[in-house]
């Protein structure tokens, strides 16, 4: 089961403090490997907190861990994750002659990743 959603890349204060310690440190890698998703969308896709999910664009894909957000904070159909090595996998190189690749509001296919023993 896959759905198309809109991915927003951005910053967070935790990411900001973690990058000072080093982008190769476990905390930074962990923070940049999580995607925030509307809890109703997660329920519909059979996902729970920390479930694995695959995001795919025409240029690449990334497997991430889910984190639920209430509808009042993150509307249905919108995903948020902090910039990092995983978001680079999903970004296209074309800048439409602007120099700026599209880094926010990227259409992504969302697909739950079955994990051994979970049945999802």
């Amino acid at each position: 089961m896959t759905e198309v959603m809109t991915l927003i890349g951005g910053r967070s204060s935790k990411q900001g403090t973690a990058l000072c310690a080093g982008k190769l440190a476990p905390e930074y890698i962990e923070l940049t490997s999580v995607v925030e998703m509307n809890v109703e969308d997660m329920a519909r896709l059979g996902l729970s907190n920390n479930s694995k999910v695959r995001l795919r664009t025409p240029v690449g894909e990334a497997v991430l861990r889910c984190k639920g957000r209430e509808t009042k904070d993150l509307p249905s159909g919108i995903l948020f994750m902090v910039y990092g090595p995983m978001t680079t996998q999903l970004m296209a190189g074309d800048t439409a002659a602007s120099g700026m690749p599209i880094s926010k509001n990227i259409d992504v296919e969302v697909e739950p990743v079955p994990e051994a023993g979970t049945g999802t």
């Binding site: 927003i8 000072c20 700026m100």
Partner: protein, 449 residues
């Protein structure tokens, strides 16, 4: 902690574009680390805490430990041999180092581009197209009774923007601070910044331009169809109320983030906001400032502009500066596979560029200068360890409102500064090339004269 402590008053934090210059630092001089950073936000505290002296090689050449001088020789050879070299980054170092970086690009007939091209580069394009009604943050603090944050999350990315300049502080004409201001926040989702706002506009993704254009129409007294709500998620009544407030305030300020520049519309979004600002000045005073991320990205814009006439994406291959986003900007040069060598100054594109651009970084010789090990330094042919600007290195940086601020370093580093390494590379490249690679006058022009 040792007893050999040093107090550094009024130091400057260079983590983000706020460049807060009221840091009171306590430094353990034996351990070479900052133990306390008074007045710093959560990001600033981490910045000061985590930038002690790490035991790293002065340089790595192909993964082998080397001296700085050996690294300089290898880097100079790479740049002198390259046919389409690129100097990139610049936003987390001093203006003094940025100046040398531009000089190297000029000498080798290469391209110089900064992280602005993947930050507020589209706003830079919009400034050239639409113009900018600008102000210092001090002016906003002292005068603005209405502040609109558009496409940004300062609570997490620039925490003291609220408390030091734009929301809570009392100012000359804002005697009651927060009570005297109307604060509006526009975003596609609720963030930690949202509770600060009196009015929150949640716009649908990819509809900022439409909302801004509708506001322009309403400011000019034109009719806007109620179907705007279906397209943007914001009702006509909300937009009309906002316009009434904007036209009747004494001094309004837009502070806009990459929610405008990194999405569909890019420079058209920034341009629409700047045009709205101009429209509003028919009725009252409004200004607009981009909120900047890296500590001296504004300095990079200034240095590259005053040396070349353009803010980023500048190419010297014809012997004079040419500016063309999309042609001479780093993501494009890398994704198209055009650049054959790159010097990356205080930046980590391997951690945030599109996949195609990173793949090309892996194919060409990379020279990196960074205080930390990064994904970029790991794939570099030559990786220099540098001292940290603002903590170990003095110099000049620019706050996001183009105000120049002098750094007060806390303690010395055993590692050289960016400026020292770049100056050595510049001198060695000059010796290898025998001067500028590109003649001052192109051959065809010389033959015709």
């Amino acid at each position: 902690m040792s007893e050999n402590l040093k107090f550094v008053p009024h130091a400057t934090c260079t983590f983000c574009g706020c460049v807060c210059d009221d840091m009171d630092l306590t430094v353990d001089m034996d351990e070479k680390r900052i133990t306390k950073a008074e007045n710093a936000c959560v990001l600033g505290k981490a910045w000061f805490r985590e930038h002690g002296i790490e035991q790293r090689p002065y340089a790595l050449i192909g993964g082998r430990e080397a001296t700085t001088a050996e690294g300089v020789e290898e880097a100079a050879q790479i740049l002198a041999r390259a046919r389409f070299p690129l100097i990139y980054g610049l936003s987390d170092t001093t203006c003094e180092a940025q100046r040398v970086a531009v000089a190297i690009a000029d000498m080798i007939g290469g391209t110089v581009d900064t992280t602005t091209s993947v930050c507020h580069g589209p706003s830079g394009i919009a400034f050239e197209t639409v113009g900018e009604s600008t102000a210092s943050l001090g002016e906003i603090k002292n005068r603005a009774d209405m502040v609109v944050f558009w496409g940004g999350n300062p609570a997490e990315a620039h925490p003291r923007l609220f408390s030091r300049y734009a929301v809570t502080p009392k100012g000359m004409y804002i005697p009651n601070g927060r009570k005297d201001r109307t604060v509006v926040l526009v975003d596609v989702r609720r963030t930690m910044s949202t509770p600060v706002a009196d009015i929150f506009l949640r716009v649908k993704p990819r509809s900022d331009f439409e909302v801004l254009w509708a506001l322009r129409a309403l400011v000019k007294g034109r009719r806007v169809d109620p179907s705007i709500e279906r397209r943007t998620g914001v009702s006509l009544a909300v937009l009309e109320d906002l316009v009434a407030r904007m036209k009747s305030c004494r001094y309004g300020a837009f502070l806009f983030g990459m929610g405008l520049t990194m999405t569909r519309g890019r420079h058209f979004n920034s341009g629409a906001l700047l045009a709205l600002t101009t429209d509003l000045n028919e009725f009252t005073h409004w200004v607009a400032k981009p909120v900047r991320g890296h500590g001296n990205v504004t300095g990079a814009d200034n240095v590259v502009s005053w040396q070349t006439g353009f803010p980023f994406g500048v190419n010297f291959s014809r012997g004079y500066p040419r500016f063309n986003p999309g042609e001479f900007t780093t993501v494009d040069l890398l994704a198209r596979g055009e650049t054959d060598a790159i010097l990356i100054l205080a930046s980590d594109p391997a951690a945030n560029f599109p996949k195609a651009a990173i793949e090309h970084l892996k194919r060409i010789p990379v020279i990196s200068l960074d205080p930390k090990t990064t994904l970029t330094s790991q794939l570099a042919r030559v990786a220099f360890t540098t001292a940290t600007y603002g903590i170990n290195v003095g110099g000049t940086v620019y706050r996001m409102d183009d105000v120049a601020i002098t750094l007060r370093p806390a303690f010395e580093s055993p590692y050289p500064s960016d400026e020292e390494i770049l100056s050595a590379i510049r001198d060695r490249v000059r010796a290898l090339l025998g001067g500028n690679r590109v003649p001052a006058v192109a051959p065809a022009v010389a033959a015709a004269s």
